[in-house]
Symmetry: C2
Subunit: 417 residues, 2 copies
């Protein structure tokens, strides 16, 4: 089954909102064996919506539309769809009751524009949205097997409707193909080196019915292996095994996990805790770790020591060393890691100090210099990264390097026990 | 001038990478007076690339393509474009020299796949990419004024080529229309309430040639006003002024700034410093503040106090209170704010403690309960938010609420001085 996604909103074309919906839909449809063929973003404009729908329905059986369902006057999707399917908008009493309850439940006053949201195209099946006031709509295209689904653009509302309504309905409708993807996370090796490392194996993959894609991100490359058919899972699993043997220590996870998730799992499995002392990463390592549900099981806390006073007074970094070596130095980063470990009682601590940029560099310590340290009960490690000029990228790289390093140390320490 | 963006990559359709490139391009083209009409994402597939190019060239004068230029075998864009424009790939010695220097500069070994990246379509103008090994390409479509530009999918490489090569070339080519957008950031009021508040004014906007769009995000609504023509700036400026008078204290900024940026600017302008003590937000407030360049001027540091031990031993929260009131309480959040203010010497401190979820709630303190406190030299404020069930959204909401609250307190304290 082939699908196409249409995301509607002037703000997408003007770049004021990043479209995260279509990636989420692509991922969740793929897991159900539905291939997204194309993603199209257009303006809140009737002619554009009609043209995109016409095009999509020539190519795909399933067209998923998001956006343009809000209560304000720039939102026209519902009216355009009603006209497209030649069906009137009529007040839906069930929907009106739900919207009224939604407002009552929040203790908010319902406005006329919200009441109007209960007017629904007569020909659609309403897809209940318990998290907001704009309902989803399911249209069966007359005289065909094709379907158009419209959902609000607010990501969590769309996700709820997809999970609870759209995907179950699709699963009910037809037998979906068997397919399998697995994604391996590597860290610290560039895309072309990795490809070179596994070159001979990679050349033979197509003959085995397995396709490969490299997905590079800051400091990381994810490698996705895919296959279709009865033996897809078996095929992919086997090749993932071969890849892991070849790529060895570069591999962090073979199960499409993020680095923060893999690190958290490793800490939790080993019954260990960690803490961070962050200067140039400014809390981004802590933020990344605590974005994981259940992180309180292994993450104790962090000191974001942006000023020298916090470094010395909270983390106990020697003031003489701060002055003599400077805050971006081997000596200081090690004392930061040891300091936060002592302070929190964590088993392992990560520390960072550096010049994220774009300003603040000197000749001896240029922008992009970042010291990272890991402290455990019996050892403190440190290393210096030479990153680039771009603040956001330097912070991401430092977060990634520090997390991957702790991950590798945990794996190594475990093998030594 | 109308443009269309085509982003290429299986990973976009499979949802393994979120397309941030097209939003960035949309924003930067709009600033140059070029309207992005459509954004299309397709697979690394020759037939799809050709079909998307054909479609786009019927609608738009400028087609910007990103992705599929890497050194690995899933990247086919360059070969497809050469065939599309019926031009051979030939080794470009200048490009080869640049790539060789790029590898030498990083002390890395150059591979044969990287050497192949210097083979360029004979008919294109090469757009130099100093940040990577895949070059951009500019194709003038024969017998027309239309242009196809191809760039790598790595965001910072694309941005460099757009800024240094594509936009200057477009500016040289023709007189672009005069247009103006301004975006006002509001916080704490929902989209429909805001629209109701300014209803009469909003109805008269179209007659004045000004269009409006509401862009809701977690806890925030951005309102964009746009106009075209000689008097665009004047028109928009005047209506922004009217809106601000009506929306009053809900307005954080009238200049398309993020909340973190506006807060940082306010602190810096007033010569004040801040610090944070974060439990449930886990460093996300600190991370957001320090993502701004120059934040060391006003941000001193943070204690991420995930465990009770860190709350009492580092921040000095009373252990009896922690036990009696629980860590998610008015008493504790106030002591956290005051504690980190004392510890860092900051003028203002923000503290958060709550249950981000999805687990960890109790009957008396359900998931989504978040206490926020702000401490200054002469007052400590606190309030309790009742958020939802979704961890990521609860963290974002708490970050937004806390930052906006400090922003409003700063503005108020200033007016009292």
């Amino acid at each position: 089954m082939q699908a196409e996604v249409i995301t509607i909103g002037d703000e997408l074309l003007l770049g004021q909102t990043i479209d995260t919906n279509s990636a989420w839909m692509g991922e969740h449809l793929a897991l159900s064996g539905i291939t997204v063929k194309r993603i199209v973003s257009i303006a809140d404009d009737a002619a554009e919506i009609v043209s995109a729908l016409d095009d999509a329905l020539t190519r795909s059986d399933l067209v998923l539309v998001t956006g343009g369902l809000g209560p304000t006057r720039d939102d026209i999707t519902k009216a355009v769809l009603a006209e497209y399917f030649k069906t009137p908008l009529i007040m839906n009493e069930d929907v009106l009751r739900n919207i009224t309850e939604w407002f009552n439940g929040k203790g908010l006053t319902m406005l006329e524009v919200n009441r109007q949201q209960a007017r629904m195209p007569a020909a659609c099946e309403v897809l209940d949205n318990p998290q907001g006031t704009a309902q989803g709509m399911w249209f069966n295209v007359p005289d065909s097997n094709r379907v158009v689904v419209s959902m609000p653009g607010v990501p969590y509302e769309m996700k709820g409707i997809m999970r609870e309504q759209v995907i179950p309905r699709l699963q009910d409708r037809r037998v979906l193909p068997i397919l399998c993807h697995r994604t391996i996370l590597t860290q610290g090796i560039g895309e072309s080196y990795l490809s070179e490392l596994v070159k001979d194996w990679e050349e033979g993959l197509a003959d085995k019915g397995v396709s490969i894609a490299y997905l590079p991100a800051t400091g990381q490359v994810r490698v996705r292996l895919s296959a279709v058919g009865e033996k897809a899972r078996e095929c992919v699993d086997q090749e993932v095994g071969v890849f892991q043997t070849m790529a060895g220590n570069w591999v962090i996870s073979d199960n499409d996990e993020t680095l923060a998730f893999a690190l958290g799992r490793e800490l939790q499995t080993q019954g260990l805790t960690c803490a961070t002392a962050e200067s140039c990463t400014g809390g981004a390592i802590a933020g990344s770790l605590t974005s994981q549900a259940g992180s309180s099981a292994y993450f104790l806390g962090s000191v974001v020591a942006y000023s020298n006073e916090v470094k010395s007074q909270v983390l106990g970094v020697n003031q003489e060393d701060l002055k003599k070596m400077g805050p971006v130095s081997d000596t200081v980063v090690r004392q930061m890691a040891e300091g936060v470990r002592r302070l929190t009682g964590a088993d392992y601590a990560i520390a960072t100090t550096g010049i994220a940029g774009p300003d603040g560099g000197t000749e001896s310590v240029p922008v992009g210099t970042v010291w990272v340290s890991i402290a455990s009960s019996n050892q403190t490690w440190s290393k210096c990264l030479q990153l680039g000029q771009h603040r956001g990228r330097n912070i991401s790289r430092a977060v990634s390097e520090a997390q991957a390093w702790l991950f590798r140390i945990l794996r190594q320490d475990k093998s030594l026990r």
